[in-house]
């Protein structure tokens, strides 16, 4: 396997607060990796820097060996990084189909017209939204908005997919569907970095987990081992349980 993403010494400061403190890790092509940690540990900030939403204060991010840190999100998107958002961001005045067409029209292949419409249908069918393309996106239920957001991210044909608590807020049946969906991405060879709190999902999906606490990386390794790591347990549950 070859290295797809490499972070080295990545740092983000907001005024006096160091939200992410010299984080380094790398992802192999085709891996599904969980990025874990208590609330406020800097996970979403790491995703935001990879997708270009926030510029890093220091350090370097490389995709396929090429530096992408400091580029705008539109340029990083075209290099093959797609994401979903912690609070789902549908484009409510567009239709479900147009949401997906947006990613196709401005993605790496620049599809438009009939070809884009058909490709959007296929992407929607893949996440369980077949035949819903003409509905207004604002009228979808929460899980369907999440599905649509995933279809939009996948329509960009990413090499790296960033999922920010994509499984949060789902009921057990929906969670099962969600996990199967992400597993199907793994089979398609998409590299996935997911921030998640749902431990069952992490165990089912991620071969490897990276744990952050207070802006630092405290563990990185096979999921089961990492979750037993005393320092990880201490970060989540406090000293008495370590």
């Amino acid at each position: 396997m070859s290295e797809l993403l490499a972070l080295s010494g990545l740092t983000k400061r907001f005024g006096g607060l160091t939200a992410v403190n010299a984080i380094s890790f790398s992802l192999e092509r085709g891996e599904v990796v969980g990025l874990l940690g208590p609330n406020g540990s800097g996970k979403t900030t790491v995703l935001n820097m990879i997708s270009g939403f926030l510029p890093p204060t220091g350090g370097r991010i490389a995709l396929n060996g090429e530096a992408i840190s400091g580029l705008g999100p539109n340029r990083i998107a075209r290099k093959g990084v797609a994401r979903t958002f912690q609070l789902v961001r549908a484009l409510p005045s567009l239709t479900v189909g147009e949401n997906v067409v947006t990613a196709l029209a401005f993605g790496r292949r620049t599809l438009w017209g009939k070809a884009a419409h058909e490709a959007a249908q296929a992407h929607l069918a893949a996440v369980g939204l077949a035949g819903r393309a003409d509905q207004p996106a604002g009228a979808l239920t929460y899980i369907d908005q999440k599905r649509m957001e995933l279809a939009r991210a996948l329509a960009a044909e990413p090499e790296l997919l960033l999922l920010d608590e994509w499984l949060a807020g789902l009921n057990p049946a929906e969670l099962r569907t969600g996990i199967d969906l992400i597993l199907s991405l793994k089979e398609r060879g998409i590299t996935v970095l997911l921030v998640e709190h749902v431990m069952d999902a992490i165990r089912a999906l991620c071969g490897r987990a990276i744990v952050m606490n207070a802006g630092r990386k405290i563990a990185d390794g096979p999921t089961a081992e990492t979750l037993r790591d005393p320092e990880v347990v201490r970060a989540y549950l406090g000293d008495g349980h370590a």
């Binding site: 705008g72 947006t102 990613a103 993605g107 438009w112």
Partner: protein
């Protein structure tokens, strides 16, 4: 779909032809009225072109309008008329690019204040230049352009503006504008270069507005900064576009026609109270129809259909 588009274009073409034939049937007052009205229709539509999807409220309308008028004032005796228009458009474009590059990162009220300040700045600069360098404040424009000629030019500009606005809505850039209006973060993460798109749109809108000023300039015969850089032009454009609904193709048109007629009637019948009534109309529109007439009618229809 294509048949409907064809019929739509045909109807638009017929309406345009009928409007163009108007000077042959109506008197000079009607032509004067139509010049003013067509001017504001173009201004409001061009304003909506940029401000509708991006939701940036620009008060720079009169800056570009005045640049157009002043370019004609300065160059009308040295260059042939079509070339004067071209130079005016290029100056408008250059100013729009500089202003856009430096300000489109400003959000909300800062952009509003900047654009208002820009219009004042340019007016003061022109005044300073005229007083200190050329030595006279006003300029005379003697161009052999008839009122009908001005009307037809404005009508052609209006047609071009609508065609551009309609055409862009059918391309992927039209979709990008809708996405930007909804959520800029999603737009940029989908690969849309929002800064460049906004800049391009601002520039197109500014060039159209500059041309309105340039085409209308010969009507005045005499111009000075306080006439062609009058901020009321910015405010009228804004309120017309808002009344109709800036995010729709026909919205600014529907706002511009009734308001222009109303303001004409008011300024003729209540010349002393005109500014007060103008202010009251502004307030009423913002309070009663914050999203524009078209949006209000649509939501009324939707409610009616649900019943």
């Amino acid at each position: 779909m294509t048949a409907r588009t064809l019929i739509g274009l045909l109807v638009a073409g017929l309406v345009l032809a009928a409007l163009a034939a108007l000077p042959f049937f109506a008197g000079p007052y009607a032509v004067t009225l139509m010049i003013g009205m067509t001017g504001y229709v173009v201004l409001a539509t061009a304003w909506g072109l940029f401000s509708g999807p991006t939701r940036y409220v620009s008060l720079a309308t009169v800056a570009f309008f005045g640049i157009g008028a002043y370019t004609v004032g300065v160059l009308s005796e040295t260059l042939p008329y079509p070339l004067v228009l071209l130079v005016a458009a290029l100056i408008g474009l250059a100013v729009a690019l500089v202003v856009g590059l430096s300000t489109l990162r400003l959000a909300g009220v800062y952009f509003v204040i900047f654009t208002f300040g820009l219009a004042e700045l340019i007016r003061q600069l022109v005044t300073w230049y005229e007083v200190n360098v050329t030595g006279t404040l006003g300029r005379y424009i003697f161009l052999p352009v008839t009122p009908e000629g001005i009307y037809w030019q404005l009508l052609a500009l209006a047609a071009a503006t609508f065609l551009f606005s309609w055409g862009i809505g059918r391309t992927r850039w039209g979709l990008a504008l809708k996405v930007i209006g909804d959520d800029e973060v999603v737009a940029s993460h989908c690969g849309i270069d929002i800064t460049r798109l906004k800049l391009a749109l601002f520039a197109v809108s500014a060039v159209i507005i500059t041309l309105v000023g340039a085409i209308q300039a010969p009507r005045w015969t005499y111009i000075e900064p306080s006439i062609v850089f009058n901020p009321t032009i910015s405010f009228l454009t804004l309120i017309m576009a808002l009344l109709g609904g800036a995010d729709r193709l026909w919205g600014p048109l529907l706002g511009a026609i009734p308001l222009f007629l109303l303001f004409e009637w008011l300024s003729a019948n209540f010349p002393n109270h005109y500014p007060i009534i103008l202010g009251l109309v502004f307030i009423a529109i913002v309070f009663l129809l914050p999203k524009g007439v078209l949006a209000a009618v649509e939501s009324r229809l939707r409610k009616g259909g649900a019943r």
